[in-house]
């Protein structure tokens, strides 16, 4: 049977009024600021890019080793290495702009509400930044990141303060390391979040049984890869049907079929993380495969399938 894709297929999606040519977005921390990946292919085929998690001050991150192999996945404990918000604006964004002309998602992290506010206020002024992704879910830093994302009160508080200083849509990136992700999502939405992004990595650990020590220098890290995909689909489905805002689905997405499954679960945008690290062409291959997959499944427009399950 020939599944030649029809020419009238519609891959575009809208996240809070931000039009993306397709839903495929490299996830923060797996694509840098894009220009390095542009050495592999023309990254303008992407829907957007969520850039490397950025904090107020430059951070070196955690000691090595920061990475461990797992069945169908990996653990990382990079620890928010980034050059700091001012250097990102002065040096990284101009380099990104040279090679990428689609809307950008700015992933912002922090260790205090003041820090989140300061960084979001600065990045909000950058023209190419279309959406701010508030990272309250990094599992690899102490006293920041995920500690904001594990309680309804602190999520609400940081979202409320950030919303006061920005004009662009705010998406809150949620951690799966909670008892009730819907409750956290609802708190973010009640405080003013325009959308939600989930899931960040799951806390995991590997032990080297020969040396009898943790593989990761920081003991634990964030588990990602195809192994977490079913968990991500489940959580996206719960949140999308309960929280009433657009959702960016993330977690273990590797193929065009995964993108469609994530959208059927309720995602409007779909982030691809670990897959980029084992195949630098992953996002390009997914985007190229989407029309065939849509034709095969009788999908004319991707927006038709968002949350149909």
């Amino acid at each position: 049977m020939n599944h030649k894709p029809a020419s009238n297929l519609n891959l575009s999606v809208s996240l809070s009024g931000v039009q993306l040519q397709n839903p495929v977005i490299p996830a923060s921390g797996c694509f840098g600021f894009g220009y390095g990946m542009a050495e592999f292919y023309d990254i303008n085929c992407l829907g957007s890019i969520s850039f490397k998690g950025t904090t107020r001050d430059a951070r070196f991150g955690n000691p090595l080793p920061r990475v461990a192999e797992c069945a169908a996945g990996m653990i990382n404990s990079v620890g928010l290495q980034n050059p700091g918000i001012d250097a990102v604006i002065a040096e990284e964004l101009p380099k990104m702009r040279e090679v990428f002309h689609q809307p950008i998602i700015a992933n912002i992290s922090g260790f205090s509400i003041d820090e989140y506010v300061e960084c979001c206020e600065k990045i909000d002024k950058e023209e190419q930044v279309a959406i701010i992704e508030l990272n309250v879910s990094c599992p690899n830093v102490h006293g920041g990141g995920m500690s904001f994302g594990t309680s309804c009160e602190s999520v609400g508080e940081v979202v409320k303060e950030v919303k006061k200083v920005i004009t662009k849509p705010l998406y809150v990136k949620l951690t799966p390391n909670v008892t009730d992700i819907v409750a956290i999502g609802n708190s973010a939405v009640e405080a003013g979040a325009d959308g939600l992004c989930l899931i960040n990595t799951m806390l995991g650990m590997r032990i080297d049984i020969k040396t009898r020590r943790p593989v990761i220098a920081n003991r634990m890290g964030g588990f990602s890869g195809p192994a977490v995909f079913p968990i991500a689909v489940r959580m996206v489905n719960q949140v999308a049907h309960s929280c009433g805002v657009p959702v960016i689905g993330c977690g273990g997405v590797t193929t065009a079929a995964d993108v469609i499954e994530m959208m059927m679960a309720g995602a409007t945008g779909v982030e691809v993380g670990a897959a980029n690290l084992v195949n630098p062409y992953a996002c390009k291959e997914i985007i190229e495969a989407l029309p065939h997959e849509m034709s095969r499944l009788g999908i004319a427009s991707l927006t038709d399938i968002i949350g149909i399950v």
Partner: protein, 247 residues
């Protein structure tokens, strides 16, 4: 990223193997670069330094120790099978505008990238001398003869004295009164540290780490250097002596 056919995969010692692959070598720009290999059944690729390569024959030689599951699987793969490689990764050694008498200092499996380096330097009319360090004679596999074959003088040191000079590569330099105007090194970190502190000449050192992607995206292999944070996979794996910070 492309597929390569395994031409041969041969055991050299109790832990070291040599694999020859056939395929597109055009991505390799300098000795000291590495490949990142997709291992069947493993999620992350495995970075292995390029021991030698021939653009003419379209061949890559990899020298690797079997240290875990990934390299164990690699060691079991037969000729005729294919491997997916990201090729020509990292910066490699710089071979231009440095003096004419370089010392090539290797420790264990770190001797691997010195082979292509020696060949490149010979082609430039330079006179490199290779000094290869191993723990014992059982770890060595006659690599000094590989250097001899391309006209590069080579010495061996073993920690237990079971082959060549007893001690480290620095003991060979002292014992044989070897003079060089700069050095290239690859090996275990304690060895590299000793070389940086004891050799009074410019040097370039190749360091290794567990890696996530191998091409600079994930920041899983960052090191603090005198010039700020650098990614071993993308900004390295070769660093100038002055860049490395020893704590």
């Amino acid at each position: 990223m492309s597929d390569y056919e395994i031409i041969s995969n041969r055991q050299l010692t109790h832990k070291t193997w040599v694999m020859i692959l056939s395929g597109d070598t055009s991505a390799i720009k300098a000795p000291g670069q590495f490949v990142n290999i997709a291992i069947p059944g493993k999620y992350l690729r495995r970075p292995i330094s390029i021991c030698d390569y021939s653009h003419v024959r379209g061949e890559i030689t990899l020298l690797y120790d079997v240290v875990g599951d990934g390299t164990h699987i690699l060691s079991r793969m037969r000729p005729g099978r294919h491997l997916n490689l990201l090729n020509g990764l990292g910066n490699g050694f710089s071979t231009t505008s440095i003096g004419s008498s370089p010392l090539l200092l290797g420790g264990g499996i770190g001797c691997a990238p010195l082979m292509a380096l020696a060949r490149t330097l010979r082609l430039q009319g330079k006179n490199p001398i290779a000094i290869l360090g191993f723990n014992t004679a059982a770890d060595s596999f006659g690599m000094e003869n590989w250097f001899d074959q391309i006209g590069v003088e080579a010495y061996v040191a073993t920690v237990d004295g079971s082959l060549g000079t007893k001690g480290f590569v620095t003991d060979v330099i002292r014992e044989k009164k070897i003079n060089g105007d700069h050095f290239y090194a690859c090996g275990p970190m304690p060895m590299l540290r000793a070389l940086c502190t004891s050799l009074d000449m410019p040097g370039e050192l190749s360091i290794e780490s567990r890696m996530g992607c191998g091409f600079g995206a994930c920041m899983c292999c960052s090191v603090e250097t005198a010039d700020g944070a650098k990614r071993i996979c993308k900004d390295g794996p070769v660093f100038r002596k002055e860049e490395l910070i020893w704590k």
